[in-house]
Symmetry: C2
Subunit: 340 residues, 2 copies
């Protein structure tokens, strides 16, 4: 390995003290212009880069962001947050951050992990996913003034922190309007049991679009846990009634795939998973790379970094410039294929 | 936040010098038993945890492992390495490591990123994925004596470093034998163009199993880039000849899904993706969580950590105890569904 360039090397090269080099890096204002220029030239020439340990001791900043990933799963849905993670990794690096991963089984477990990560690695911030009703994680972080943002709204709680989310209701409303435009009048909604915030939101979009078109929704909503088998069962249930539906808007691709197996319904799924793409299922696509970039931009604002690394939304009209009040709601996109 | 417990706090509590606390943490042998016990009791009682910066300054170890993820993609296949990553994150934490992510477009780009990560974060080690012919990354790391292991063999190169891989040829051989046992005699192979190491390996398993059964392979192998459309095209091509096949072993699930669309072939895919599970495609499943655990175990050996964190294979008969020569080849499993 080439010999390491240290502050001492830079100091010798620029013929100044180590303290002066340290000042140039951390408090450049106290150094005379001519000296600062000489030190910067030496840094440039020698390719000096402060290492994490030294920089962290000086600045208290690690440039590491913690993000949870789920335990290994095999489901169709697991790809959504993976796509978000890919986007986060890609956009964090140019903004000067790296992503550190952890897993957690529930809120308490995740909070214990924050504690570990902060003690062991002094992470700068967290990006939380899976926000839900009665989420205890955000209060814990706020109390300790640890910077974070969430991918997901603070469901059922006041807006006390920054967040980025995708407007699920807008997605299912677009799917419903698309099916109405195709001539369907009896359109079912197949979703998860009430109480899942994201599921409730997706159902509300279908309901609103049906009402706006003057179409009834009574008896047309069915709920079950996620899964292809459940989707098929719900579809058969809703078809097995007088005046059955001809189409269904679904809260997920597995439910939609199950409903489509009946060959008796036009269907639209949600999340545009690889499965939807492979079998020709119409689905609603979340802008996950954009959501990830927004999260990184929000963190850069929270951490007081150069706003040039923040995304365009940070300065868009109507949005607050207080980073704690930085809320971004992105609109998903309907991808139409064979199924509806 | 509760006031931070530092080495000084521990020293006061145990009524020893800071140097003694530091010795207990870093060179316990030089401390008398009675003193060591008192310091350990204070550490326990106060809940002291060395933070990364301080510990790294002392030990030169960051307890961070670098892993690449691919740029965001939408394909069916992207889930395979994500599943590996989930396993890696889960097994690294109990072994005392955290995973730091990066992306890279090619070998040169990845090597430049190693340089950045080592300078900025002093990573302890890397887990490389996507090994291929003429891989320049491993030589770069070896020259600099940076610990690493690869998920993937050093294709076409001598075994100069530790690796973990899945035996793709064993997987396609098992699929071929399964189809033969079901009565098929004309079995095609649909794969990627020769020169992709992983693809060549998967083809060789089909070829060997056919030869072992005394069955011909001439004219039964077809190659194209990955994709559902390509799979369907290759299947039609191979069906459109005298004495057409009745089954096909495929190098991937997208190729298999395309071939299955013809409804004229029994098919087995590779990787057991969510798509295979959703549509009932037989496929070969890589033990990705196990592969990830093996990689973490190998790194623990390379980094000289307590061998109790190393996997069982490290002590299995016939395997070398030299961590640089630690090679693990796992066997995939055929999952039979509707398609073949």
């Amino acid at each position: 390995m080439p010999s390491k360039v240290t502050i001492a090397t830079v100091a010798r090269h620029a013929n100044v003290s180590r303290q002066t080099v340290s000042n140039v890096l951390n408090s450049p204002d106290v150094v005379r212009d001519e000296t600062r220029a000489r030190v910067m030239a030496a840094i440039e020439e020698l390719g000096y880069r402060a290492n994490l340990a030294a920089r962290q001791m000086r600045t208290g900043r690690s440039r590491l962001i913690g993000v949870r990933i789920d335990p290994a799963r095999n489901g169709i849905e697991s790809s959504v947050l993976d796509r978000f993670l890919h986007g986060l990794t890609e956009t964090a690096a140019p903004a000067g951050y790296r992503v550190v991963l952890y897993t957690a089984a529930d809120d308490d477990n995740e909070i214990a992990t924050y504690d570990d990560l902060l003690a062991a690695y002094t992470l700068d911030a967290f990006v939380l996913t899976h926000t839900h009703y009665d989420d205890t994680r955000t209060a814990w972080l706020r109390q300790r003034q640890i910077p974070f943002t969430t991918f997901g709204r603070p469901w059922g709680a006041p807006d006390l922190h920054s967040w980025v989310d995708v407007d699920g209701a807008a997605g299912t409303a677009a799917a419903t309007r698309h099916l109405i435009a195709a001539g369907h009048r009896r359109i079912a909604f197949l979703g998860w049991p009430p109480g899942s915030a994201v599921g409730d939101d997706r159902r509300s979009g279908w309901q609103a679009a049906m009402q706006a078109a003057g179409l009834p929704t009574d008896g047309l909503a069915r709920h079950a846990p996620d899964g292809v088998g459940e989707g098929e069962r719900l579809a058969r249930e809703v078809l097995d009634q007088p005046d059955p539906p001809t189409a269904a808007v679904c809260a997920s691709d597995p439910l939609a795939l199950g409903a489509w197996r009946t060959r008796a319904l036009a269907v639209v799924g949600f999340d545009d998973t690889a499965v939807a793409q492979a079998v020709g299922l119409s689905s609603i696509r979340q802008p996950l790379a954009e959501a990830a970039a927004e999260c990184v931009g929000t963190l850069a604002l929270l951490l007081g970094d150069n706003p040039t690394t923040a995304p365009r939304q940070a300065t868009a009209g109507g949005r607050s410039t207080d980073p704690d009040m930085h809320h971004v709601l992105l609109t998903p996109r309907l991808v139409v294929r064979d199924s509806g």
